[in-house]
Amino acid sequence: MSATVAAAATGTRGVNGVALAVVLVLFVAVTVMGFLAARWRSAGPMGSLDEWGLGGRSFGSFVTWFLLGGDLYTAYTFVAVPAAMFATGAVAGFFAVPYTIIVYPIIFVFMARLWSVSHTHGFVTPADFVKGRYGSRGLSLAVAVTGILATMPYIALQLVGIQAVLEVMGIGGSANALARDLPLLVAFAILAAYTYSSGLRAPALIAFVKDTLIYIVIIVAVIYLPAKVGGFGAIFDAAQQKMAKPNPTTGAPTGVFIPNAAQTWPYATLALGSAMALFMYPHSITAVLSSKDRNVIRRNASVLPAYSFVLGLLALLGFVAIAAGTKPIGLDGQPNAQLVVPQLFEDFFPSWFAGVAFAAIAIGALVPAAIMSIAAANLFTRNIYRDFLKPNATHAEEAKVSKLVSLVVKVGALLFVFLLDKQNAINFQLLGGIWILQTFPAIVFGLYTRWFHRWALLAGWAVGMVYGTVTAYNVVNPLTGKRLGGSVAPIELLGRNGYIALTAFVLNVVVAALVTLALRALKVPEGEDETRPEDYRADAGDPRVHDIPELTESA
């Protein structure tokens, strides 16, 4: 592999050999671990979907903490957020801090109920729950399709993160498209290979390595870098100056140092919308369902904010780079904000430590990408393949389809990388958020009430999806003139700007409520609810709580 990589390295900056060697060693170590992980704590062969996709559902507090951390510590955290801070400041980037703080109180409320009802009925995906609760395959299909669609740009963001590291190391060339993208494709292939062979256990085990590497890098970076560039006072002064300076193209200020009165709405809605959306993603729900009792998630909710703190420090690295005068220039010779954190490390650290940092970023993008693609694949297999395509598929067939689809999802993510503006990678995640948040009413409201009619929820979902997609498509980036240029747009009737996901969500709920009233009046059948009120409180040790027999037995 290194020969191919070296051959592709025809960039003008030259390859950082030491950093590359360190990255390769750590990468290979992790890959080997991934393959070995197939045998770790294994209760049965990987042939069954539950075993491959949910790690046999036996993870305790400790492992779950790392798995959930994997949802937050991604390329989003250490590439996209600092890049956004570097480019346009607080509203574009720092909202991630309140987002990752308020996500825990929110999931504290409803996740335990989802755990209980899932474990009493053998639900593995959010669409399973929706089908059982509303007796509606149509609504279940909508939830499944949305989950798969929304996961793709999120995985795309991870691929952009890996690409940023490789580009700063000088891998890849500017000669042609293949030379530029070859390293990305290599990383993609490794991810696909170990995910394919070992399922969820590989990323769970690697999460330990990943988080350890990240902590080392962050502690060093946060202690060393600010002192090096003149302390936090100087850092914030430099950032303030840059953000106030008018942009030569638009004449407006470059960015936001501290949100003014008009910007408080975008800031708050981006945080709230992202927080509500995070645990609608199939991979987040997979992680929660893998825990071994209903309170693991609540216990973790009190320690997970440690992640938010570190995320905040990482965000500030964007400002550190401003003070340090970092120049993130891509292989094509154009400035690219996404490269700012790897470039900062390359400029200030000795090669070997830059290598450790690069490995942390690359592996940190790889693990979540694996978890996300597995969860999306589960969703397809259970809720589309089994429900619509081949109802009497064997367990072995299902596991096989799941593995194939996890590859397809990654290819879909690759398409997003090529289609969207890579300069603004944080927008990938926000775009996914617009879609996934439209499943919130069916899932979370459904955990508490059957008041909403199944077809009304479907109607609300459709309206939210269409409104969100069209509105996002119409946002034009003033600098590049490209569409899908941002995720904040005017809120109808309010005369303020807000995160499109949340506006679409409100519209979704209003439509769902109105249509429910109409369908009630027309006495349209409500569908059968197979859950009972006490199912939402059941805990491990309760006789009603069980693993799914047809999935856990050896296939």
């Binding site: 607080a90 801090v97 409320v109 914030f236 501290i258 408080t264 800031y267 945080a271 009120p533």
Partner: protein
């Protein structure tokens, strides 16, 4: 929740639920209320108020979820202890695991 089976499986009393809800709502409301903290002064070690205030909320929010967790768990433990002392068993002789 009003049905007897629901109560027997350990639904927390409405008062406790309300307290927990308020405790959990505090960080959400505080952080959504951006106009209460979009200020530069006072700086702390060079860090503007806007930034250090949100870092502070990482810890305050963790405290809130911890309190909420303790309240709920404490209630479940007391209920279980009470049930064990009474020799109460759920239907079919099973004991509730909550």
């Amino acid at each position: 929740m009003t049905d007897p089976a629901g109560r027997r499986t350990g639904s927390p009393p409405p008062g406790l639920v309300a307290v927990v809800a308020v405790v959990l709502a505090v960080p959400v409301v505080a952080l959504m209320w951006v106009s209460s903290y979009n200020k530069e002064e006072p700086r702390l070690g060079g860090v503007p108020f806007f930034y250090w205030y949100q870092f502070l909320w990482v810890f305050l929010a963790a405290a809130c979820t911890t309190v909420a967790y303790r309240l709920l768990i404490g209630h479940e433990r007391r209920r279980r202890a009470l049930r064990d002392a009474d020799g109460h068993r759920g239907p079919g002789g099973r004991e509730d695991g909550r």
